[in-house]
Symmetry: C2
Subunit: 138 residues, 2 copies
Amino acid sequence: MKHVVDLSWKENMAFETVQDGHPLVIDAGAESGGNDLGFRPKKLMLTALAGCTGLDVISILKKMKVVPEAFRVIVEGDVTDEHPKKYVEMKVIYEFKGQDLPLAKLQKAVGLSEEKYCGVSAVYKDALKLSSEIRVIE
Amino acid sequence: MKHVVDLSWKENMAFETVQDGHPLVIDAGAESGGNDLGFRPKKLMLTALAGCTGLDVISILKKMKVVPEAFRVIVEGDVTDEHPKKYVEMKVIYEFKGQDLPLAKLQKAVGLSEEKYCGVSAVYKDALKLSSEIRVIE
């Protein structure tokens, strides 16, 4: 299957696209000559990973009848100082909140995303160091 | 330097984050049990690439005093059918519109992004097949 993204330049450093009906604006910050009208493109790599694995995990937990009170996916990316300024390491933190959450099931859901389902981490792990951590808050 | 993205689960398959002051919603489509409230995460990998190289190119052309009438970056990604459904190939199409645009300068700007500046393609090309094409429309 083929996915296509079509991004159009608007003005100065701002670009715009519509994906699945949702508009998205990309821009640089003032420090890079932009007007901060939208997202920094590189960080969208982290958003893609957080969203991909987050969707996997919540979908698998739903099938396991496990419903956390709250769930966050934090992705930290280490960027090189030299050009090309790229991510060389990422860490994914899965933070679940709830009473008596079954840790083994949380680990199973995260493991299935990491090893079987998440197409974003499957690409990144061929190019950089990827690690993860599960945190549970009562 | 470290970048951080913090994505919070809202309801069903929808997640939300705020990046550099801009809110972003992730959701699955109805065919995957979601409510289509926002972006599909995997496609944000394509948006990240289009935005990163688009910003590079427009910024380099500005320094070269080259201003196209219009400029689009189209990224096509080929996804596997089997899990993990991941991109194995991407093609970046740079489409410039304008009268008498200097092709050598367009090629130079694209080449500098691909070889020196774009931190997104620098990661992807270690994990998948990446190609590009320049189109000029008068």
